[in-house]
Amino acid sequence: MQNNAVQYIYNPENLDQSDPLYTNINNLKSHEMVINIGPQHPSTHGVLRLEVVMDGEIVTNVIPHMGYLHRCFEKHAENLPYPQIIPFVDRLDYLAAMNSEHIYAMGVEKMLGISEEISTRTEYIRVLVAELNRLSSHFLGIGAYAMDMGSFTPFLWLMRDREHINRMLEWVSGARMLYNYIWIGGLYYDLPVGFEERCKEFTVYLKPKLTELKQLVVDNKIFINRTANIGVLPLDLAINSGVTGPMLRASGLRFDLRKVDAYSVYPKLDFDIPIGEGKMGQLGDCWDRTFVRIEECWQSIRIIEQCIEQLTNDHKRTRSFNPQASIPKKIRPPKVDFYFRGESPKGELGFFFRHNSNFDIPYRCKVRAPSFCNLSVLPAISKNIMLADLIAILGSIDIVMGEVDR
């Protein structure tokens, strides 16, 4: 202990900023000022730092600074076997770990060429838990956003409903948020006995709550006044900036990878893709984005109901069902580059692998994080707005810093 007792050597140079301002303060006009929001600020939804150049109350430029939650995922992944990367994948988008796991596991299975061997029951269970987690992710997104917009009740109500999902997923996997449940080639366990019934009860419970939520949030006059016509994201800018997920759909494009790529059992399921319609203001404003998220919750419930239907009839629980049956004992992918993408609650989540060794460790594993790309459009749509509206726009993007910073 003595030899490394000195943790920190004092040096005045160490007190310089490690992430200096982008704006040169000497070039500011006399009526402009720079305001720093974050990284410790509740309305930046994590450790995001915004450097805002202001002219009075008007925002003239926003420069996001990030990296405060960088945990070297890609560097770690270069030293880990594929199955051991799954817990790291959980921690990217920690609000929707099941979705990330599902996409990651499918990507590796496709690369190994074993995706045909996965049993249909396994796939239905995967989609079921992923959609439950999509609900919980949207609940936090909507709830935190409503709180940003000044209403406290929706957040508490949504936390109450999200708690049901967290407990159910804890029942399935043993963890509340970071599951490590979906494995490459299968699942950790089958669903616990009684889960299907509990899930059915939950959907019955949830539907009136969602109606309530719609009345409380998107039909609320205060909320409409606060979000309609704010942060309008035109469709061409959205596509050009790589924006995907609910944000892109709110701009009016019916683009959902669950339908477009038709992976897993999604082609067998019946669900719609809600898009923004500009009902309360312009197409692609903050209100539309919240509206799309709430509508997506309804679609997730529809998917959950169909999965339960399948899991209790055609693909019933049997004694012989082994969720770990097709888990490969040795993972030896071919020496290829492989990119796989799927629809996470935030947008297009992609995994890129390059494999060129005879071991089960990827040479390179890159994540295409939806929050990262969605956040990159923030400076473009927050010019010449009020500071309070900047918070409205940032909240409506629904970022998770774990995924932005990786």
């Binding site: 490690s18 982008y22 960088h70 560097k75 596509i239 580059d337 295409r368 790309c373 910073d405």
Partner: protein
């Protein structure tokens, strides 16, 4: 369009270039020389029959000292036509920060490239020419070295704090 059709279209448009195809066993890639990459991507985006409007991802890969190059892989997707294309280009590895590798930026064509290219600069030290704002994005501005290069060594001290990822053995001492 299928991959072959796009490949033929590119070959007829850029007939003075040799466009090799690699990685055919899973997802075929078109290998493009670095100096004409920006032209080709611009053509693919503006051409009415290809119209790649979404740039999904840019990946940098360091192939190590023996190979001596860095691969940059562009994943393009066309929302109306529902076809995808992977463009690969290789550049010399260089020794940043003194002799950094460099390639043209495509952030004028795709805005999404802006942050992806900053990320590659951050992790590999690749300079993107004509990039509007090439700063580190995830690491601190004064970090030394480029962590995803295969010959990366951690700096010993960062602002007086010992950078040490082997702390388990030290606490046992």
């Amino acid at each position: 369009m299928t991959f072959e059709e796009i490949q033929q279209l590119l070959q007829s448009e850029f007939n003075n270039l040799t466009l090799e195809v690699s990685n055919q066993e899973s997802q075929a890639q078109i290998n493009v020389p670095a100096q004409s990459m920006i032209e080709i991507i611009g053509f693919l985006k503006s051409n009415k029959s290809t119209f790649f409007d979404l740039l999904s991802c840019i990946t940098g890969i360091d192939n190590g000292k023996e190979a001596g190059n860095i691969d940059i892989i562009y994943h393009l997707y066309s929302i109306p036509f529902e076809h995808a294309l992977i463009i690969k280009t290789s550049i010399q590895r260089g020794t940043p920060p003194e002799h950094p590798p460099s390639i043209d930026s495509i952030s004028a064509i795709y805005q999404s490239a802006n942050w992806h290219e900053r990320e590659i600069f951050d992790f590999f030290g690749v300079i993107f020419n004509h990039h509007p704002d090439l700063r580190r994005i995830l690491l601190p501005n004064d970090w030394q070295g480029y962590p995803l290069r295969k010959d990366y060594k951690e700096q010993e001290y960062y602002r007086g704090i010992k950078v040490d990822n082997n702390f388990t053995s030290e606490t046992n001492n």
